[in-house]
Every structure is written in C-alpha cells, then in structure tokens.
Amino acid sequence: MKGKKWIAMMMTTAMALGLFAGCGSSGNTESAGGTQSQENTQEEAGEEVSEEATDEAAEDTADNAGGSKITICTWNEQNPNDDLNMYLQCKNATGIDLEVTVIPESDYSSKLNQMVATKDDSIDVYILWESDIANFAEVDGIVPLDDYLAGSSIDTGDFIPAVAALSEGMGGTYGLPWCAATEILFYNQDMFDAAGIDYPTNDWSYADFLAAAEKLTVKDGDATSVYGCSLPNVQTWWAGIGGAGDQVYDPSTGEMVIGSGAEEFIGDCADMVSKGIMPEPSSDTADLFASGKAAMAWAGSWNIATYGDGLGFNWDIATLPTNKVKYNTLHTGFYTINANSKDPENAWKVIEYLMSQEGQTINSKASGNMSALKTIADEGAWKVESATTIENWEAMTDSLSAGIFGYTCLPSGVTGNAISNFNSAVMGQMTPAEAVQSSSDYAAETIGY
C-alpha cells in the first residue's frame, strides 16, 4: 500500500509541476517558437546552404550592432534566391540578426490579434493588414512612428495618396506600406488572336469586355470548353462592384456600402454564367486562366510574378475594364513596431532598411509589386523579368493611380459572407437584390459590434 501511495504522490507532483511549467510563459520560450518557424520556412525554401554562406558576413556586421536580434512576421515565404530575399539582405546591411516568422495567410490576422491581446513580445515587427492597423493602434498594440520618421530619410510626402489618407484617419503614422499591389485584367493573347479580336487596352470599356468575353467562349455541345472570362475572385468581386458605382467601404464610418452597383455587377455575372461565358462558382481550386480554360481573368497584380514564363501561352495585362468608374482595390501590408518589443530602436532600423531604395527595389523585383513610394515605383523594378510577353506595363501604373483602400479594410467575415451571397445569386439561388440586402444586413450586425 505504501508503494501505491508513493506512486500516487509522485504522479500528482509531476502533474502539478507539468501544469505550472506548461502554463508559464516567457519571451524566450515564444521566441524559440519563432526561431523554429523560421528554420522550417528556410528549410522548405531550400535555403540552408545560402543561409550558412551569408551567416558569416552577417556575423561581422552583427558584432557592430551589438548582436541584436529582431523578429518580423509575415505570411509570405522568403524568396529562395538570396539576392531577392529582402530579409537576408536587411540582415547583411544592418547587421541585425533578423528572424522571419511565417504565419499562414489564412490564420495571419487572427494570430496577430491574439498576440496583441496577450501582449506578446516575441515579434518586434508586425506586417499588418489594412483591416487590422487601426484596431492595433486603438489598443496601443503598436507604436506611432512619427518620432522615428522625423529623424529618417523616408519621405512620407512621397507615398501614394491612398496611404497618406489612411494614416490621416488614424491621427498619426503607425505603419509604413511594404508595397502597393493592384488588380488587373490578365488575357490570353493566343485566344484573342484565334478569335480575331483586338487586344484589350487600358481604355477598354466594360461593353468591350462583355462583347469580347462572349466571342472568346468556346462551346463543346452544351458544355463550355473555354470560358470567355473566369469568375471574379475574392478580391475582384469588389472591383466590379466599385466600378459599377458603389462606394464599397466608407472610411468615415468603417461600414460596407453596397447597393445598386453591386446588384448590377452580380446580375451581369449571373447572365454570363447562365450563358456559359463565365464558370459557376465551384469547389475547384484550379486557376482556369493559367490552365488555358479561360481567356481572361480579373486578378491581383502579384500573379504576374507567379505566372512568369510558365504558362505555356502568350499573355499580357490591361487595367480592369470596370463599368462606370475606374476602380480597383489597393493591397498592401504595413510595417509596424510591436508596442511590447524589447528593442524598438533596432526594429525601426529594420523597417528603415526595408523602406529604403535598396529594400523596396529588392521587394519589387521579388514580388512584382510596386513600391508605395512614388519615386522608387517610377524606376520600374516591379517589372517582372520572367514575364517576357508583357508589353502593357502601363496597366500597372494606371491601376495604381485608380486604386483605393476598399474592402480590405472590412472584417474578412463580412466580405466572405458577401461573396458567398454573390455566388448564390450567380447560381440563381437568390436574386442579386436579396444577396446585397443579406450581405448589408450581416455587415451592419457585425461592424457595429
């Protein structure tokens, strides 16, 4: 019996100790998680060798910076090419041991919100999305950058107007945009040639687009073998709605504003779906444009770098042929400093490098996204070299000038719910008016929380 008692006591003690150890937290433990994540990322990108090669160079400069370590989190994997890896180059240039923690895009916003709620200090530099930056500033989760900017060479007057407007709305500069991505029209030149249609231009009208989509559709009996245009995706639904005249997002109230424009655009898409010009929404994950099953697609400019020279057909880009007004949504993320960072000075040095001419140029070359600093964007580093068939690079600059921060400032649950309704309307399961009403009701219920 004594033996049993001892065993029981030992088990209880071990359990209690385990609980205390498990529930306790420290910055070091969390940082270790971040390191692991970075290691995994680098391993996946096959960077072990390059990392070793540059570590020696970084160590020399790290000594000068006092061996400080800064952690940045992002949703993108690091570029496998050392020359295009802006974080690695930042490490080399500043001597700061920069760790990159990659959080999958689907969980990115919620994970960061949880970090702020728990005053986590394992990340020094957050790249925040448009929908989060104001909330983070509101709870003092990030620090204002105005004092840092006062002594910096970064010219805030050089930012594209949309970025300046967003900062004004928050009463200060809390973040600096890592890039400026837009939405554009991708088209298959070979299919246009085969159909005998002139290539789209940046002043193409909505009517031109609808007519071309119909002509480009190839039918095989009742079924469609090539669609004129793919269905708008989660980003470009909003470009179509904004282009049809709706405000989409009201920055003064933070509300979603859709109405007759949305009804009109949904109605047009439903019409094209019923005629087989556009595919129905489905669980397919394939990119119909890239697989040669759609002649045109409305999509994000970052796809240029993804497609490169790997599509197997000639393709080019144009601005989105929206209906009544030129509209597309700007996409970016903002470099911000965690208010709980133990080393905000070096965190700022990292941001300063990433916003510098060199940092922004590397970023543009790697991602195909423009810099939000106009003078750097004008140099054209964002023209992806592997996209050899693109001639209409002006489509990017034109799109950027028409771009605004729209749906990306809304909670993703609200926009996701709306798109689900739009898809139902396109399938004929509800009318466009019902879809708009249902989406607006849900948005009002959610945003007012």
Partner: protein, 308 residues
Amino acid sequence: MSNEKKKKRLSPRKKKDTLTAYAFISPWIIGFACFTLFPIFFMLQVSLTNRKLNGISKFIGFKNYMNMFKSPAFWNSIKVTLLFTIIMVIVTTVWAVIMALLLNQKQRLNGIFQFCYFLPSVIPSVALAYAFRTIFGKEAGLLNAFLSLVSGKNVSVNWLYNHSTVYMAVFFITLFTYNTGQMMLIFRSGLSDVPGELYEACDLDGAGAFRKFFSVTLPMISPLVLFNAVNGCVSALNGSFALLYPLTGESGNPDGMTQVLSLLIYKEAFSNMKVGYACALSVLLFLLAALFGTALFSLSKKFVYYEN
C-alpha cells in the same frame, strides 16, 4: 448510530486508502479543472462582454444573447446544425451497423476487409475534406470525369454548390470519417458477443434474416447503439467544423446551407474578431449538446435492452 457518525469513525487504514484513491485520481481532476471546467466558466464570463480578438473588452450583460436571437445567421445556423446532427448520426450509425454486420460474416480475408474499411477513418478530417473537395469539383472533379466516362455524356454537376446535391455529398463524406470507423469497430465487437444460441432458436422457429436482425441482433447491441449515437451527436456538433470548413468554407456554401454552429463560432471569433459574441454562441452549442445527450438517454429507457 447514524451513517455520518459511522463515516467519521473510519479506521486509519480506510482513511489512508481513501486518500490514496483521491491521490490517484487527482491528476485527472486537476486536468479536468484546468482544461475543461475553467474554459467553460471563462467562456460564460466572456459571453457577457463585447470582447474582441485584440483584447478590448467591456461588460455588456446579455446583449450578445439578445443580438444572437435577433440574427438571421444564428437561426439559419441552428436549423442547419439540428438537421446536420440528426441526419449525420442516423447515416453514420446505420452505415457502421451495416459494415459491422458484413464484417461479422464468417469468410476468408475478413481482417483485410476490416482494415480496408477502417483505413479512410484514420485520415485526418481536414485532409479527407480537401481530397473530397477535389473529387466533387465541377470543372476538374474526379467524380464528374468518372461519370462522364461511364455515361458517355458530359457530366458537370456542381456537387458542393447546388442546393439539391450539397447534403448528399456532405453526408456521403461523413461515411469515411474517423467517427464512423470507430462506430463500426465497436459494433463489430458487440456483434461477436451476441450468443449464438439465440440465432439457433430463431432458425428453429423459422425466422428470416430481417426478423433475426430486428428481434435479436438490434436489441442485443442496443446499448452500443446508444453509446455510438451519443458520441456521434457530440462529434457532429463539435467535430463537423474540421470537415465542413475546408469543404464548404466558413460561410457554409451554398447560401449558408452547411453553416453549422461551430463554423459560425469560428467565423465570428476569428474572421469578425467578435470573441464575446462567439462565446455566447458557444454557450448555445454547449446547451445543444447537453440537450441531445439528455434526449438520447431519455429515449434509451424505452429502447435500450440491458441483459442484466
């Protein structure tokens, strides 16, 4: 002498034994208190606030509950959850019984069949759902390609987006989940314990296969049916998220038809950042699970046969 006094006069040895017993179960009690009881009470507390994911929080009383009962999304979700739970439990239990009956037949290679039937069940639900999402695709789906090949016509059914096919597809997929596989194994072990002489008596009376099943097999395994039904209910209420999120998205496409309560909770907490509201929804889910459990145990008094 009262019982209380008797208890007070426990011998030192008995006392030691009692303390030892408590010490043995204390790891579980500590775990239960920390990881089950505390979260439940914390959830109840947060449901009375307007807590957001970034930590902002203010006490708002029962406002979340009032808003919830006014929300069309909530009522749609309750309707879908009830439908999904009831049908999923029936479909998976019936399928598991059928499979167990087949495997209970004395034939060669039974072990291999059992392994093959159980194999999909050990695949994580998320991976299973992604695989079926590809199979049920409209443009590039394997099922449509197979049907086109067999029929010689172009078949392009939008399985997961059509009102008329989405439930069929989803319930079909539930047949391959871990829960169904586990049920099958439990039924199989139960079937092997049914006394053979009962079937012999049936044979003498000239009973057919159906009569044997409904008069002997089903009553004898009815405690297992109850156990599996309760487990299935809890699994359908809580575990359906892992299956439906990758399959039909957080909005429960099409048109909210698959938006069970667990999906809505996730959407409100992590996409809309409304943690307080999501906790209020979770309280409802908790009550719903309790309601299903109570209902099943009440029914069991009428339908479950206990030999002893």
